[in-house]
């Protein structure tokens, strides 16, 4: 049977659409593609709300099921799952409205807000690690920031996912420390040009080629960014003495001002007494 170019394109499209006949969902449009499958917007006809439907190949169903069991504020909740007539698996989940991280930080976003997002992402990844799941493909395009500032880590990877250049760790077999690398790459991406050297050092340490030279796990990385936020010395950077002094000054500004005021008053009293 002969097939023209336009019919070929049409067939490639329609044959890949999920057949949701017999489910409560009505397909709308494709909204994304990831390592695990294609995501569509759909309408839940029973509850009258819009949802996201992720279609996963049958061979990845086992891994997808483990990922679907992750319950965390920064991981998109799954409402329901099922099997399509062609054996592909579908997951109905919350339809996240917001902006992708790379688009979100293109606007005017403070350093504190950037670090807050990194922390949310890191907490979700650390939680997943405790359940034996690694992300494998952390990158700005897989993080969504909702309209109320909520952060979601999307597109949790499976064995077959290869990662994305620039964010993927160099080792061939990915493990938890590969996510540490990707989180470091994400931090580097989030940092503005004028970022403090301590934060750059944290990103550099997380992205070391040798996995054993990186942070041992995600919480260790987050603790170091936390130290920076608290005005403490970070583990990743041996700072010069003048920088330490400056940081001491910033951290103890109120105390130093009080001390200066005390010395000033004392001096004034001494001066008046000797008039």
């Amino acid at each position: 049977m002969e097939v023209s170019d336009s019919i070929l394109d049409h067939l490639r499209h329609v044959a890949s659409l999920p057949d949701l006949t017999g489910t409560r969902y009505e397909l709308e449009t494709e909204i994304g593609r990831g390592g695990m499958g294609v995501v569509y917007a759909a309408r839940d006809c029973q509850l009258g709300r819009r949802v996201a439907i992720k279609i996963v190949d049958a061979s990845l169903a086992g891994e997808a099921r483990i990922i679907a069991q992750l319950e965390h504020p920064a991981i998109v909740p799954i409402y329901e799952n099922g099997v399509l007539p062609d054996d592909r698996v579908f997951y109905a989940m919350k339809l996240v409205t917001g902006r992708r991280l790379d688009l979100y930080i293109a606007g005017s976003v403070s350093l504190a807000e950037r670090l807050r997002i990194l922390r949310r992402v890191g907490e979700a990844v650390a939680f997943a690690h405790t359940r034996g799941v690694i992300h494998r493909d952390l990158k700005p395009q897989n993080v969504m920031v909702g309209e109320f500032g909520e952060v979601y880590v999307m597109d949790w990877g499976v064995e077959a996912v290869a990662g994305t250049a620039g964010f993927r760790a160099p080792e061939p077999a990915l493990d938890r420390r590969s996510d540490v690398y990707s989180l470091g790459a994400l931090l580097q991406f989030l940092l503005p040009i004028s970022a403090p050297p301590a934060l750059r050092a944290i990103a550099t340490k997380a992205m070391r080629t040798d996995p054993s030279a990186r942070y041992p796990n995600v919480p260790a990385l987050l603790r170091d960014t936390g130290r920076f936020e608290d005005g403490l010395a970070v583990e990743a950077w041996s700072e010069p003495w003048w920088h330490r002094l400056q940081r001491f000054g910033v951290r103890n500004a109120a105390l130093l001002w009080l001390l200066a005021a005390y010395v000033g008053v004392k001096f004034l009293l001494f001066f008046l007494r000797n008039l």
Partner: protein, 230 residues
């Protein structure tokens, strides 16, 4: 103009039980695996040679035929390493090496006597690279074979109406409305929706099956599927 060819044949059998290419090679004669490969790859190889080397229709057919014959003689499948590349890429590179050698040998013989090249206007008819043409023809042939499988399946299981509705809607440039199709066949619109969904689903299964027959295993199959579906 580009002349078409029927060499390579059509297979009408529903291929739901095809095993992977490597399995077929290890458990049966190489010629069986080659039949599958020829059915899917004859036209892509033929068009690739025409575009890459500017050969005329007959020379391209001869070169394509020679390539598949030598593939059998040289045990092409035994040297395929799925860790290095997909079978599709491996085959295209093998064709390129083979055709380049044969083509330059033929040109040496004809030097001074005027080797035959495609007329310039035919060469300029497309801006696609030979590799793009190969990929496109591969997809086209995969769907052509899968459509043959679907049609045979519908005929075998008394689902001719399913195929007629699918053909009228998905295999034509101007798609009639569901209402018009329902009226034309004397069924409800929901029947049209359901029949179309069934046919598309079955077509997908036919494509998967054909693809499984020419890939090394599940990993390569999944990779090819990801590239194939829009």
């Amino acid at each position: 103009m580009d002349q078409d060819t029927a060499i390579g044949g059509f297979q009408h059998q529903f291929p739901s039980t095809q095993v992977s290419l490597l399995e077929a090679v290890s458990t049966g004669p190489s010629s069986e695996a080659l039949d599958r490969v020829v059915a899917l790859y004859w036209k892509p190889v033929y068009r690739y040679i025409r575009r890459k080397f500017g050969t005329n229709n007959e020379d391209a057919k001869d070169l394509t035929q020679s390539f598949f014959m030598s593939a059998l003689e040289r045990d092409l499948f035994a040297r395929f390493d799925p860790l290095k590349a997909s079978f599709r890429t491996y085959l295209r590179m093998a064709v390129e090496r083979f055709a380049a050698t044969q083509h330059s040998a033929a040109n040496r013989l004809k030097r001074g006597g005027g080797a035959e090249f495609e007329p310039v206007e035919e060469q300029a008819a497309t801006t696609e690279s030979p590799e793009q043409i190969f990929e496109r023809e591969w997809q086209r042939q995969l769907f052509s074979l899968a459509l043959d499988d679907l049609k045979a399946h519908c005929e075998g299981y008394g689902k001719q109406l399913h195929f007629q509705i699918f053909e009228a809607y998905d295999l034509t440039e101007e798609r009639p409305s569901y209402a018009l199709l329902a009226a034309r066949h004397g069924v409800a619109e929901t029947v049209v929706t359901n029949y179309l969904a069934w046919a598309r689903r079955t077509l997908r299964a036919c494509v998967t099956s054909r693809l499984r027959g020419v890939t090394s295993g599940e990993r390569e199959l999944r990779k090819e599927m990801r590239l194939l579906w829009k």
